[in-house]
Every structure is written in C-alpha cells, then in structure tokens.
C-alpha cells in the first residue's frame, strides 16, 4: 500500500485510521479540525460549583457576546448548544451551502459532529440492515472492537429484542432517581404497556464510562456533559485521534480543507487537493487510496466538486436522508417536589422502542430526565409570570423529562444534493433539497401518539401544546447519497466501501447508508469504518 489518506476526524475517520495503523499502515489524515478553546476548566468542579470556581462564569455559560442566552422568540432550542461548543459548527472560509426542506448542521470540528453528541450507541440488527449489503453477523466483531475501544454501557433488558449487543460492553451508568422511578413503574406495568402500546423501555446504550477504562476516567457525575466532559468519561472521537497521533506512522494535518480529488480517465485517483486555511495555499497530495470520512454532506461535496472540476458537469445525487426527531416533554407527578441531583450524568439514561410491521416503522427514543440544565430557556415556557414560573420550576423540575422520538428515513431520489458554481472559477456551493416523504406526517402522528399513550400508561402527564417537531436536519444523522449496493451502480459504493466509479476511493461515513434506521447511527458508522479497514487493508483477511 502506498499513500493512504483519510479525510475527516469524526467518528468514522478516526476509527478507520486507528484500524489502518494497527494493521501496520501509514496514514495521513487531512482535517479542517476546528478546536475547542482549551480544555474544560476546573475539571473537578460540578455544574453548580463552576459558578464559584470560575473567574467569569457568565462568559463560560453564556459566551463572550451572550450568544448562549436564549431569548423568547429565538430559534434556539431549550437545551441549545453552549458557547464552549461553538467550534463544532463553525464553517471554514469559503464554504457555502443552500438548503431547502432541511436545516443541516455542518461540522468541520476536530472530532466532527460527535463532539456535540449525547452518546447514544446502538447496534443495528438484521432488520435495520436489510437494505445494506451486509448483516449483523458481518458487523458484530467490529461493534465489539469499537465497544472495547470507546467504552459503552448497557444493561440486559427488554430492548435486547430490538438492539443487539456484541461483546465488550461495560455496566451502565448509575441512573438518577427519576429514571429509576420510571423503570420501576414500567416493571409493574410491563405486560399492559407491551400489549396495549407495544412500548418497551430499558437503559439507553451510552458511550460514557461507568468505570475507568482504556486510560480514561469513569464518570464523576459532575453534570457538565453538555458543556464538555472534563474527565473524558463521555466519549469523543478526539480521544481516538489522540491515540492515532501517538503512532509515528500517523501524519495529522489540521487546517486542511479538502476541495477535491484528481482522477484519470479510468476513474483512478491521482491526488487529493486541499487548501490550507492559514495561508490559503493549495496543496496537492498524491494518493494510492483516498478514504472519505468527512461526514455525508462534506463527503458528497468533495465527490461532486471533483467531478465538476474535471468535467464541468454539476452532478446531482439523490437519496439524502436524516432522522426526523420529535420532542415530547412530560411530567411525572409522583416525582414533583422531590429535589434533583444536579451533580449527575446529564444526558439520557433510558431508551424505548415501539416496533411496527417493518424496520422502517420501528420508533426509537431516548428519555432524558431533567438534572443539570440552564433554566432560562425552559422557565419562560411555563404558564406563569417569570417569578412564579421560577418558583414552580424549582418544585416540578424533579418530575420533568423529555422523550426524544426518532423516526427512520428511507432513500428517495427526490431528495437531492448537488453543487452550484459560484462564479467563473471552480468554487461551488453545496445545494441540498430535501423532500419529506408524503407519509411522514401520518407516521409522526402515529409514533408520537403511541409515545404519549405509553407515557400516560406510566403515570406521566404530557402537557398539551408542548410537543415539538424538530426541523429536518436537527438530528445530524445525514446519510444516503453514495449508497452501498451489492452490484455496480453509478455514484454508489461496494459493500467493502470502495466506490464503483473510482477504484481507489473509499467512503466510510453515512453517505454509504442505503437506509437510515430510527436508532442513532454513530456506533454503526464507527463499526463500519473498522470493518472496511480490516476487510481491505488486512492481507490476512484476503
């Protein structure tokens, strides 16, 4: 193997790179790599203690320009990303996109979109993989490898029928009192909930450490997950990138925005071209194998720009997908007035599944009970004056939670990605046009209705008018534009990740998914990247 170049330091890129290094190959990784500004401060301070531990807590929590303040009427969500994560969505100069029907989040951060994830890690089963050119057995050893590398907590529970579990998992995190109460109530009403609502509840699978593992500390329950875990218990691809950088065969080149690759008449790539962001110089790097792991949207743009620059044709790729998400806030009345541990793991402890007739109908969800949180985005929504709302909130917050409902998405050619020239030169903007399935409103209504009925069956109160359908693009599970196919097809990839059009080009991010199950897809991105690396770089497997 000559020069092996990987593009992107997100979840799939770093695991491909690490596997390649383990197999004895040298790897060059090109990355824009926007970084967070320093490490999380006061690493032993809890969410509340930070107010007194920091010199300027207002700047930390609200930003130097108050960008973290969620005022009434703003588009920010009630849990909106804090200023410490602003680097995750910063664009490099010159990147432009026009979108319709989808409001995506583009990330050029070191670690990619998983720098802002909530760590849900779920294996796809055979039903989920029916349209992939592989099954769970093919992915199983690679799921196990990723679980071993990053640390995933899971429990034996009713979700096992929908979510397989390979080897190497850790015990789950200690649940908070509200989550425990919901589980106890579910245990008492299990049969009724299954029979009437097809509702199955269990522990969410989370890439957060319940104990020390692989050189990282177990969760110290500081309640700072959203702002950046100071103990590294919550997994980030940064940690795998760090492991790669410790290898002398790894060449990490940040501040490098890949614009396109050059190829010959047979489609064989000669070189990858990138712009260095510090001085705007263009660099051409010869490659023997190029692996795109820049995220489905950025990978799509690289491919489209490469074709455009060579042929003058702006191709259009169909099949763009993203999960639809719906937030269903609810209250558990029996938990009202019981106090809250803010020094606790902040993200979800519970997950649920509602099966349908097909994998496409399966509804996946996670339940996050309210613990540490900024209150000002939430309190103004209560039906009181603000002073009374604060007093009421302090009483009810121990019973507040939100069910995050995820729906699957399928490839439809009508949802497309293309590039549009910005002038006479080669620069283009990415154009995304997403058209929701005509059935989606009915599916959403059915799914949300089932969740609400199940929550009521658990003795919870679902306030009317507060369910929120999030804009398409919010879930950031983009996929489908270069789908995996068993037979050659234009702008598709083989089961081993190799492009059918470009023989030394591989794609290992969500662009290759031919179907997007309702479950969070990040774990499968990582496992698939490991699989592709092992299948195509390990001489022993040939």
């Amino acid at each position: 193997m000559g020069r092996l170049v990987v593009v992107g330091s997100g979840a799939s890129g770093v695991h491909y790179a690490r596997t390649a290094l383990e197999l004895g190959h040298a790897v060059t990784l090109l990355d824009v790599g926007h970084e967070r500004a320093g490490s999380p401060p006061a690493p032993d301070a809890s969410f509340l203690e930070l107010r007194t531990a920091l010199d300027d807590p207002l700047e930390y929590f609200l930003g130097a320009h108050h960008e973290g303040v969620v005022v009434p009427g703003s588009r920010a969500t009630y849990y909106g990303l804090p200023p410490s994560k602003s680097h995750v969505f910063r664009h490099p100069r010159g990147f432009q996109a026009t979108t319709r029907g989808i409001d995506p989040s583009f990330s050029f951060a070191r670690g990619g979109l998983a720098e802002a994830w909530t760590a849900g890690a779920y294996e796809f089963g055979d039903d989920d993989l029916a349209e992939f050119a592989l099954d769970h057995a093919a992915l199983r050893p690679h799921y196990a490898e990723v679980a071993r590398r990053i640390g995933i907590g899971a429990a034996d529970d009713d979700l096992a029928r929908f979510i397989p579990r390979s080897e190497g998992y850790l015990p789950p995190l200690r649940p908070d009192a509200h989550s425990e109460a919901l589980l106890e109530r579910y245990a008492r009403r299990r049969d009724t909930l299954h029979r009437r609502h097809r509702f199955y509840l269990g522990r969410s699978r989370v890439a957060a450490l319940s104990r020390d593992h692989a050189g990282r500390r177990g969760c110290a329950e500081l309640g700072r997950c959203l702002w950046g875990c100071p103990t590294e218990a919550l997994y980030s691809p940064l940690y795998t990138l760090r492991e790669c950088r410790a290898n002398p065969r790894f060449d990490y080149r940040p501040r490098s925005l890949v614009t396109h690759f050059d190829y010959g008449d047979g489609g064989r790539l000669d070189a990858v071209v990138y712009r260095h962001l510090d001085d705007d110089t263009e660099h051409r790097l010869e490659v023997d194998r190029l692996v795109l792991a820049a995220g489905a949207l950025a990978t799509t743009k690289i491919v489209l720009d490469s074709v455009y620059r060579r042929t003058g044709v702006a191709e259009s790729l169909g099949g763009l997908m993203d999960n639809r998400q719906v937030h269903v806030p609810f209250l558990t009345p029996s938990r009202v007035g019981r106090g809250v541990e803010t020094a606790a793991y902040q993200f979800h402890h519970l997950a649920f599944g509602i099966p349908g007739d097909t994998a496409a109908d399966y509804v996946h969800g996670q339940i996050t009970t309210l613990r540490a949180a900024s209150v000002h985005p939430i309190v103004p929504n209560l039906p009181f004056d603000l002073r009374s709302a604060m007093a009421a909130f302090r009483i009810v917050r121990s019973g507040l939670a939100v069910a995050n409902v995820n729906l699957s998405d399928a490839r439809r050619e009508i949802s497309r990605a293309t590039v549009r020239p910005l002038g006479d030169g080669p620069e283009t903007e990415l154009v995304l046009d997403y058209v929701a399935d005509a059935d989606e409103p009915a599916r959403m209504e059915a799914a949300v209705g089932a969740v609400k009925r199940a929550l009521r069956g658990l003795g919870c109160f679902v306030p009317p008018g507060m369910t929120r359908v999030l804009p398409k693009g919010t879930s950031a599970h983009y996929a489908g534009t270069l789908p995996m196919t068993p037979a050659p097809r234009r702008y598709a990839t083989a089961p081993d990740g190799r492009s059918w059009d470009f023989p030394n080009l591989y794609v290992v991010d969500g662009a290759v998914f031919p179907f997007l199950p309702a479950k969070n897809h990040t774990l499968t991105l990582m496992a698939n990247a490991v699989r592709v690396a092992r299948a195509t770089l390990d001489d022993r497997s040939r």
Partner: protein, 155 residues
C-alpha cells in the same frame, strides 16, 4: 436619565423581582453589555408599540407592578421587550453567585406540599394576570388599532 442609568435601575428591579436579592456592579455591567450584543433587545423601546412601552414602564416601578406587567406579557406579548429583558436577567442571575444557588437548584417539599404550592402560585398568577388585563389590556387594544401596530423592536 441616560440609557445606562435606566438599564442599571431596571436590572436591579428585575433582580429583586426574580430573586429578592441585590446585584454586583459586575452583573450590572454584564446586563448593559448584553444590550449591545443581543439584537432582540434593540434600541427601540421608545419606538415600540404602546403596550410594550407601557409594560416596560410598569415593570420598572418594581414590587407588584413588575409582576402584573410580567403576567400580562407572558401571554399577550411573550416575545416582547419586557419578556426579553426579564429572561436576559434570569440568564445572567442563574449563572452568577450567589443567585445560582436559588435559581439553579430544586426544592423538595414532597409531592403533596409541592402541588399545594403550585396551586398557590397559580392563584397568585391569575390575580396578577387579571390586574394586567385591566391595566394593559386597553393599551394593547389601542396598539393594535393604532398606526404603530404591534411589530416593534423585540418581537
């Protein structure tokens, strides 16, 4: 009174309303800086619809007047300049010691006592809203029928 003096006084009134406590000069400065940073705060209270100007003026009086104005705008001007300023004040106070101890924590009176307290809060809110309807409702009607219809700065 200059804008700064007005903002200072306003923030002190809002802090007393929300927490019962006082403020430091650093917090007051942060409140002023936020007015420069946040477009929603704008610079147009003087050009805002009548109901917005009136609710701000009423809220700035302090005491029960603040609550009455807040209660009214919660439903009838939820994105208006008063609510934006109150939420900004809340955002600053919840992250600043010592106010964070009250605002960022929960109380644990138990479910029954908790529900009784909620009932009391609901009654107090209803009274404030009723007074707000009497005081600000007519002005809101004037705003909606007047030339400066309700599309002023801050929502």
């Amino acid at each position: 009174m200059t804008d700064h003096e007005r903002q200072d006084r306003e923030f002190r009134v809002f802090t007393r309303y929300l927490t019962g406590g006082g403020v430091t000069s650093e917090l007051v400065a942060a409140y002023r800086r936020a007015h420069r940073d946040l477009p929603a705060l704008g610079d147009a209270p003087s050009r805002a619809p009548l109901v917005d100007r009136a609710s701000l003026a009423l809220a700035r009086l302090g005491g029960p007047a603040t609550r009455v104005a807040d209660a009214y705008t919660r439903f009838f001007r939820p994105d208006g300049p008063l609510r934006v300023r109150l939420v900004l004040a809340l955002a600053l106070l919840e992250h600043a010691p010592p106010h964070h101890e009250r605002l960022a924590t929960a109380v644990s009176p138990g479910p029954v006592a908790g529900l009784l307290r909620l009932t009391g809060l609901g009654i107090a809110f209803a009274v404030s809203l009723g007074v707000g309807l009497l005081v600000l409702g007519p002005l809101h009607l004037v705003s909606r029928t007047g030339v400066d219809d309700g599309a002023g700065a801050g929502g």
